[in-house]
Symmetry: D2
Subunit: 107 residues, 4 copies
């Protein structure tokens, strides 16, 4: 699966104008002062691209934020970049797909 993903992501990276839907999973330590606010600030800067975000309280300290976006791939990459800059994020995972490329097989 990983190799297929690699090929797909390379192909799509050349299509920055294509409309995509994707998720950015952000894991962070909520005890870190100011991080909730910074993440929300970035979200508001991408107001029209984000459909909604799902927040899960993992344990006393760790938070999971799943940002669901629908926009051009280029915008999604910028959003990812801005989120990575927020100090205190421990892990981030970005994945997307392009609805119009959909065929009868799962990719």
């Amino acid at each position: 699966m990983a190799i297929r993903n690699l090929i797909t992501e390379n192909e799509l990276a050349t299509q920055r104008d294509a409309m995509a839907v994707g998720t950015i999973i952000v894991l962070y330590n909520h005890e870190k002062k100011g991080i909730d606010e910074k993440l929300n600030d970035v979200g508001h800067d991408f107001l029209k691209s984000i459909i909604s975000s799902l927040h899960v309280h993992l344990d006393k300290e760790q938070c999971l934020s799943i940002i669901v976006a629908k926009c051009e791939i280029g915008t999604m990459l910028k959003l990812e970049q801005e989120l990575r800059r927020v100090a205190g994020i421990t892990q981030l995972k970005f994945s997307y797909l392009v609805p119009t490329l959909g065929s009868s097989r799962a990719t």
Copy 2:
């Protein structure tokens, strides 16, 4: 519908130990310093009761947080109370239902 809701809520308020599922819709001004963090603090205090929260960026300033909880009604009322105490919240709406009371008709 409102009168039916009123009756239902009075009935259920006497059953604080019943397991319920509910949503607390919180509208707040994200520009207000520290509010994201305070809301998340409350969420972490009710870690085991909250399934997940859905966050929607309404406009440049306004945020909507929909907290989905599954716990005893008493705990849900405490969660509501704690959220209402967070300075900066502009509106809050709480509604719940008790799965085991489910009949063949919507209430």
Copy 3:
């Protein structure tokens, strides 16, 4: 709280054109044939009004669907009405708030 809610809902019911955000919590028995599809059909009819829906598998049979909508109150009431018509729903709870009515106090 219930009395305050009653007053609020009566007041708002006269403002069918006001933009609101709300949730419709639907509890249903997923074992009932065709119900997932019917609920999704209704959702697609209100494509532009629904931001997203959160689905929770409560147990082997029961499903919770929390539909988050942003539209005129009149449209939201129509959506609620259509959902209530779906056979197999065991409980339904609708609540909404009007962002522009937001004051400094939670209602």
Copy 4:
């Protein structure tokens, strides 16, 4: 980014017992008869692993289901496999992260 993801996924694939959090993004044509029900069936089989699912109506036909799971990687891979078997899915994307592996840098 893609190469880093590839390495990470290979590393993690050897840790099937590790607790992970992840999302499976499923794109499908809702007009296809029975698909809503089949996807929900699979969800109920993984009741304890799925936190909640976010559903987005993309257009008249296309649906996006974002399944958020918290379980062992092995279970997550089984869930992915079961979802891929559902006829009518057009695209599927799976990504996860392991909270305990979290360091101070986003990966």
